[in-house]
């Protein structure tokens, strides 16, 4: 009786226990996702200065000759150790061919990203003669291992930065690069098959459907030849639409196309967004089609190109252009599809709008309704209304056609406003309070002015100059926090000054650029410069500033054996315990691992003339435990970040005894992290048993 009353629950308990035992976690070794963070939190109680501290601060300020404004600026920018910046700036690196990553408001340089120029710290282009990085830099068979990076473009979703990818153009060679913001490394470079130089690159459509590359100096498509006398007939401008495949993280060249444009020297460009979604705006500055020739008594380019009172804003409806491309209306030129002007005019997706002579920047307001063209040689910014443009196109309110039959919209029909700002307006950015900011090159100033129409929000009333802050000196681009998106943040603005002159210690005749941080958080006429930051590694052009928390970079590669080129674990990556040297005839394969503080193997012996393929996995999973690997005399240096796999090949054509070593100080025994590569001269019979290689 008792026994039966007990057995039913017992059976249940037994069954439950068996279930629990089966569920018990099995042998597993790895990072515990839920491990606690024990970084000591800084004391964050409100600051209250005692009279003694005020006296100290005053004394220091006077000793260092600082004003009260200086103290406030320091307090607004000083970033204590361990605290991260609120914004991240991606700056073009100009002739360095790189991208610079800078924290805001501290203005600290965080790192550079090698793009068009091999860079040895990142091991970019130093994996032997067959380096894939070097191969993709070749143009028409020639090594072109520098670039003139101009305009970075962060990938966007619905017109806002999504923090996933960065694109940047190379003005000198008309190339476009894709950088993956998971590891801040260049993944792809595509060469424009049509033209030699570009300028309006890169700009993205609101969902990064296309990465836009606008041309610069007209030339003969496909590296063709034509004498300067044939300029109008044979030279052409263009805009290329590089199709971006977000899932693959690569430009899909096979789905990309270009639109032929008159040889007007395309300048900066911007994508329409929100109200102007679907349109692309591209400035031009040589509608004169001047051909220079100062040496023959002709007007030099600088004069000829500036003769007329107006140039043209080129307006392209890219969705219609895409449809025309897909409908087969493109013609192949040098293997690349080009929609000729005739087709664009017939399709009604290419129009011109007059703009004051030789403008520079064209920038679309956050709501997409106002297109701001900066005058450069005209003291105004001219604002075009996107609704006016669409209406003029629909109503065919044309003042005529240009020489190539492209319809010209009537200026008065599309112009919404003109605001006089000062001398040399170049580029415009926006904030969240209804202000626009325009760089004034000749005035060396940043102008704050109010938007009007649908975007009127500032208290000063529409289309009014509010204030100008002097900057030092000769400002080119400027960049407000997320200031070219559908939702700018305001707060900070960077003045990218071309000249520093007396701002820093003179480092010989070549001086750094001067990035100045401007506080735009207060409305009205208060807009102080907070900080000067020298950029002595190239001449940047444009930059973009993204909220740091939108970026989700890897801290280490997700798996050991990760190939950054494929962004996946590599099946060839040597595993720990599986290292060794495999020989097949004159081909030698080295499988190596690197971990603090040794390479395995430490002896590699090959014969003179062998083709050596060398594979290394950094078997590290700890943040910042990066190794390097170099072989002196063979131009090889790798950066092996935690988990990274790298491969290189070379012909061992110079016999000798070569130490290889870790080039990134990794540990207390870093200097000991080395090995010997023996390249045995032909005919030398001394065997090296330790290498495992058979002679």
């Amino acid at each position: 009786m008792n026994r039966t009353r007990h057995t039913a629950p017992i059976a249940l308990v037994l069954a439950a226990m068996a279930g629990l035992a089966a569920l018990a976690p099995t042998e597993a070794v790895g990072q515990d996702a839920a491990r606690p963070k024990r970084r000591a939190a800084r004391e964050e109680k409100p600051v209250e200065l005692t009279p003694g501290q005020v006296a100290d601060l005053t004394r220091i300020a006077n000793e260092r000759k600082l004003t009260v404004d200086d103290l406030v600026a320091a307090a607004k920018t000083y970033t204590p150790s361990g605290r991260h910046d609120e914004y991240i700036l991606f700056s073009s690196g100009g002739q360095s061919g790189q991208v610079f990553v800078i924290g805001v408001p501290s203005m600290r340089l965080l790192r550079s990203i090698a793009v068009f120029t091999p860079e040895s710290w990142q091991g970019y282009g130093f994996s032997g003669p067959e380096d894939p990085v070097r191969e993709r830099l070749r143009i028409n068979g020639k090594m072109v291992d520098w670039g003139d990076t101009h305009h970075p473009a962060l990938s966007e979703t619905k017109g806002d930065y999504d923090g996933k990818f960065l694109f940047i153009g190379d003005k000198a060679n008309a190339r476009m690069a894709v950088i993956d913001l998971r590891d801040f490394e260049t993944k792809q470079i595509v060469k424009n098959p049509l033209t030699v130089s570009d300028h309006g690159a890169a700009f993205v459509t609101p969902d990064t459907e296309y990465v836009i590359e606008g041309g610069q100096y007209a030339t003969v498509f496909g590296y063709g030849y034509a004498p300067i006398e044939d300029y109008q007939k044979s030279y052409r401008g263009m805009v290329t639409f590089w199709k971006f495949d977000r899932a693959r993280g690569r430009i899909d060249v096979s789905a990309s196309f270009a639109i032929e444009l008159p040889p007007y020297w395309q300048d900066l460009a911007d994508s329409g967004k929100a109200a102007s979604d679907g349109l692309i705006f591209v400035n031009s500055f040589n509608s004169e089609m001047a051909t220079g020739g100062i040496e023959s008594g002709n007007p030099p380019f600088e004069a000829g190109v500036s003769r007329r009172d107006t140039d043209y804003l080129q307006i392209i409806d890219w969705r219609k252009a895409e449809a025309a491309f897909k409908a087969g209306k493109a013609e192949m030129v040098n293997g690349f599809p080009v929609i000729r002007m005739k087709e664009s005019v017939a399709g009604g997706f290419l129009h011109l709008a007059p703009e004051p002579k030789s403008p520079h920047g064209v920038d679309v307001s956050p709501d997409g309704k106002h297109i701001v063209v900066a005058g450069k040689l005209d003291p105004h910014v001219t604002v075009y209304g996107s609704d006016l443009i669409r209406k003029a196109i629909a109503d065919k309110t044309f003042s005529g056609n240009d020489d190539y039959g492209v319809p010209i919209l009537k200026f008065d029909a599309v112009k919404e406003a003109q605001v006089e700002l000062g001398l040399g307006p170049l580029h415009t950015q926006f904030d969240d309070k209804g202000y626009a900011y325009t760089s004034l090159f000749l005035d060396s100033a940043v102008a704050r002015w109010t938007l009007g129409g649908s975007a009127a929000a500032a208290p000063e009333g529409p289309w009014k100059l509010v204030t100008k802050t002097p900057v030092q000196y000769n400002i080119g681009h400027l960049c407000a926090a997320e200031g070219d998106t559908v939702s700018p943040d305001g707060r900070y603005l960077i003045a990218m000054n071309k000249w520093a002159v007396d701002r820093f210690f003179p480092t010989g005749p070549l001086l750094p650029q001067n990035f100045q941080l401007v506080d735009i958080s207060a409305p009205g006429t208060t807009m102080p410069v907070l900080y000067d930051s020298p950029v002595g590694v190239g001449e940047p052009h444009y930059c973009q500033m993204i909220k740091a928390d939108k970026l989700k970079p890897f801290t280490v590669y997700p798996e050991v054996g990760w190939n950054p080129h494929t962004m996946a674990p590599d099946p060839n990556a040597p595993r720990k315990g599986k290292e060794g040297i495999v020989r097949e005839g004159s081909r030698v394969l080295v499988n190596m691992t690197a971990i603090r503080s040794h390479f395995t193997p430490e002896h590699v012996t090959v014969n003179e003339g062998d083709t050596v393929t060398w594979r290394i996995t950094a078997v590290e999973t700890t943040q910042d435990a990066t190794h390097g690997f170099c072989i002196g005399g063979y131009n090889i240096n790798l950066s092996l970040e935690p988990g990274e796999y790298a491969e290189f090949s070379f012909v061992a054509d110079k016999p000798g005894t070569y130490p290889y070593y870790c080039t990134e100080f990794c540990s207390a025994l870093h200097l000991e992290m080395m090995g010997y590569l023996h390249i045995k001269p032909k005919g030398d019979a001394r065997a090296d048993a330790a290498s495992g290689a058979t002679p």
């Binding site: 009786m1 008792n2 026994r3 007990h6 017992i10 308990v13 037994l14 226990m17 068996a18 629990l20 035992a21 569920l23 018990a24 976690p25 099995t26 042998e27 597993a28 070794v29 790895g30 990072q31 515990d32 491990r35 606690p36 963070k37 024990r38 970084r39 000591a40 361990g82 971990i595 603090r596 503080s597 590290e620 999973t621 700890t622 207390a668 025994l669 000991e672």
Partner: protein
């Protein structure tokens, strides 16, 4: 045969006594049942933590021992340990980790049995669970000592770091590291299970000892 079983499991509770003293007979069953549940739950919980602090690890390094596996920065700690010639942590207590879950299930089954056996020998069935937490700590101490005292004399830092015994509970230090070791929730549960088993046996004997005495003197009820 029935008499052998009867002899082993001891006298059954007469229904009239059960009605009269339900709490007295329920107490050992309930307390021992709860102890068993706690031990089972502890399989899923950490038994031991060690936290390592050093200047270049602002987040610290962690290792957490469960009865059957290790979690945390095992790879990094192994990497550091190779400098002083300590064997990889995964080589420690292999058998213990392989059998722990089944051994614990067996302990629970034995305790299940103890609830049926009304003689004093029932205590033998519960002894493994009573001593389990102490056994865990002794085993851990054994492995810490074995690993700490048997460093590879050819390791890079063998001249500066001599064999040592890592601290099993509380603060210790090695090289630039401070170590903080503590018992995990699982070990605490196992400890509670151990104490509850002892308490359960107090109730067990209080309920069944009179029956056993009665059956010895007065024969079967």
């Amino acid at each position: 045969m029935p008499s052998v079983i009867q002899h082993l499991v001891g006298p059954r509770v007469p229904p009239d006594q059960l009605r009269e003293h339900p709490a007295r007979f329920a107490a050992p069953t309930l307390v021992l049942a709860l102890a068993r549940v706690l031990l089972l739950i502890s399989i899923f919980l950490p038994y031991w933590h060690m936290e390592l602090e050093a200047p270049q690890y602002p987040d610290g390094l962690f290792i957490t021992a469960y009865v059957n596996h290790l979690q945390g920065d095992v790879k990094e700690i192994d990497g550091l340990n190779h400098y002083i010639g300590m064997r990889p942590l995964g080589e420690a207590a292999r058998h213990e980790r392989a059998f722990a879950v089944w051994a614990m299930v067996a302990m629970v089954l034995l305790m299940e049995g103890a609830a049926f056996v009304h003689t004093k020998w029932a205590v033998l069935l519960a002894l493994p669970a009573v001593f389990f937490p102490v056994g865990f700590l002794l085993d851990l101490q054994y492995w810490l000592t074995t690993f700490g005292q048997n460093l590879d004399p050819h390791a890079p830092l063998s001249s500066s770091v001599k064999p040592f015994t890592p601290t099993i509970l509380g603060e210790g230090g090695i090289g630039q590291f401070r170590t903080y070791a503590s018992a995990g929730v699982g070990l605490w549960l196992a400890g509670v299970c151990s104490v509850m088993t002892i308490i359960g046996f107090y109730f067990h004997r209080r309920a069944f000892r009179p029956l056993a005495l009665a059956s010895q003197t007065g024969g079967a009820v």
